[in-house]
Amino acid sequence: MLKWIVLAPLIGAIINGLFGRRFLAVFGQRATEKLVGFIACASVGVSTVLAFMVFFGQLWHKQPDADGVRRILDHLFTWLKVGSFQADFAYLLDPLSGVYILFITGVGLLIHIYATGYMHGDPGYYRFFCYLNLFMFMMLTLVLGDNLLLLFVGWEGVGLCSYLLIGYYIKWDVAGSAAKKAFVMNRIGDFGFMIATFLVFTNFHTISFVTKYINGVEVSSFLAQAAASPTVAVGTLTAIALLFFVGATGKSAQIPLFTWLPDAMAGPTPVSALIHAATMVTAGVYLVARCSPVFVKAPTAMAVVAVIGAATAIFAATIGIAQNDIKKVLAYSTVSQLGYMFLACGVGAFVAGIFHVMTHAFFKALLFLGSGSVIHGMSDEQDMRRMGGLRKYLPITYSTMFVGWLAISGFPLLSGFFSKDEILWRTWSTGSLPNNWGRALWVVAAITAVITAVYMTRLMVMTFWGGERFTGARNDHHAGAGHASSGHKDDHGHHGRPHESGWLMTMPLIILAMLSIAGGYVGVPAALGGSNQFEHFLEPAIAKVEPATATHTGAELAPVMAQAESHGAGDVAQASHEGGHDVQTERLFTGISSALALLGLAFGLVFFRRNPLWRAPKLLEDKYRVDEFYDATVVGPVENLSRDGLWKVVDVKIIDGFVNGVARLFAALAGALRYTQTGFARNYAAVILLGAIIVIGYFIVSFFGIRINI
């Protein structure tokens, strides 16, 4: 059953990929669009339905395994078996992957439907949906894989699909370069992933997430091994964790491998929404959460994750304030929010991180799709400085984006508020980092929250409120080169006013808006009166943090807030250094989070209503010149080395020289040997005579000794 969740999009991809062109030739553009779009959405729809069925029908009611985790395993075949190394092609559904497949398929389906409207008129329609379905297949493989190798297949696959889709406008050079940049940076992260996998296998002798029988011996998963007893040195575990985090850095765009994500906005907007907001970039968080038993045993790694997460969050937020392209603002916002998720994982609140992944998928997809609707309605205008006052022209888009704006800023009672608040609280109260680091990180995260609200408000103000700035500038846009949009999308002939998009595009917006509002309620912490079903459900699948100063007594569970609360006088060891759970403090911080959000919103509204075209400091607008720095330090030297060193010396001189040299050697030999064939019979006779003398001489010497008596 699980396999059909994964394979349905693959089938859609194959049909669209193989036959799309023929459809185009036979049916013409319009009918093909309907057919291809239907096939694509139907395959994802099948996935979605099955995912919900399996999740709520089977997993929900399943009995937990021996270690308390509910699992469903769908084994297809044994893929690789070499000695003691075994990698199966099997899908594992446990709470963690279950949550992921729900929002991947759900949000994915909505984005597919949106894309059928957005990509209308594009000649490569079938190609787009083939890649999109392929991406779904890869992402689901990543999330449902039961061992590191299958996860890596999905990992690489989503990277590939990201490349294909970012570079979808094949005639646009910028898109091609952005696609390559994304792929190469991903690859750097993949290197870390691979080394980590090797280390895992060397130390734990298995790369599987479940217990397997290898050669008749039962081998438990490396996660269980890591959690059970410290047979592996902490240093090794730290190395493994850090290397996995390097992989996550590449995939989820953290410092230092984040520069590809803003450039990836060169792809079509549904791609940005699906891949670079909701799904692919969350793969890194998935990896960290999945390997949490390893992480919790390596406190140094956790600290690194937390610090980098927080740093990325504030770094990207400050850049986001300065951007003028609507999609770039959202891109940097994604990087910033991903920083939040990693911060959560780093302080041990993996569940909170996953919660934020889910809510972020809702509101960020909403924001991206909304921005796509704006761009579409403005006939491919992406610069916010030329927008303004669109509220009356794009009502549905405006109202849905309004919801998204509030959600991401952490406005109380929306989904984003709950997840962000949870992260902030956990950061402050964490027991896994050295003293007061938690508090310092909280300060960073809090400032970031304010900046988030500010730049999102700026986006809303510049786009939807205030005076209309687009009439005069539109003519320039059409006359000028613009951002090469003329090559890849046809204007719908709406050179006049901005227009609202069709129902295919607005319906997903509405649904996502509803999810953004309501999606947070599954995770309301107990301190605020909720039952936090989310946390209960996910908990057993994810490791708990051991407190930094714990005495490692029997029950070494760091206090889980909601559980302690709901179990009343729990039997949880009160070993955390803050001396137990404090509901009051949590409620206080909730209030502080709300205040921060409102503060940011208010400031943004006031400031940007007055001067919407405020220019940020050049440094921020130049993205801190990180790209230029990378160019100078990494890309430039590598290019020079390749060109002058590897190409000119190794390839041309050594390899070609060797091969050509062999040929020249033989030619020279032949040239020398040519002189023996003179054609003169007397020469030949002389040589024969000479040879005969030598041979006879040899025989004389050997038979008769060297005696010549004359």
Partner: protein, 100 residues
């Protein structure tokens, strides 16, 4: 009595002269005659050994060698005639078409 080795020595000298003649001579027909000289030297040596063992086989050998020499002379001269017709020269160095 004349020892055997004298006859052999004479045969060796004649043979060597023939060999060197093949190297030196530029006229094809003279070249051919030097080859005949070599054959005769061998004939002498065969007859000497036949005398040593008092066996007529050596002489029969010589008989056959002479027959073969005759045939070879005939064919060889025919070739030389054909060569001369196309080339108008009897210089053996002119026949160098096998050169690379």
């Amino acid at each position: 009595m004349v020892p055997l080795s004298w006859y052999l020595a004479l045969s060796a000298v004649l043979f060597t002269i023939g060999v060197v003649g093949v190297l030196i001579q530029r006229n094809i027909i003279s070249l051919f005659m030097c080859v005949e000289l070599m054959l005769n030297a061998v004939n002498l040596s065969l007859i000497a050994f036949s005398r040593l063992h008092t066996d007529v086989t050596g002489q029969l050998f010589v008989f056959i060698v002479m027959a073969v020499a005759a045939a070879e002379a005939a064919v060889g001269l025919a070739i030389i005639i054909a060569l001369f017709r196309s080339r108008e020269t009897l210089n053996v160095d002119e026949a160098d078409l096998l050169k690379l």
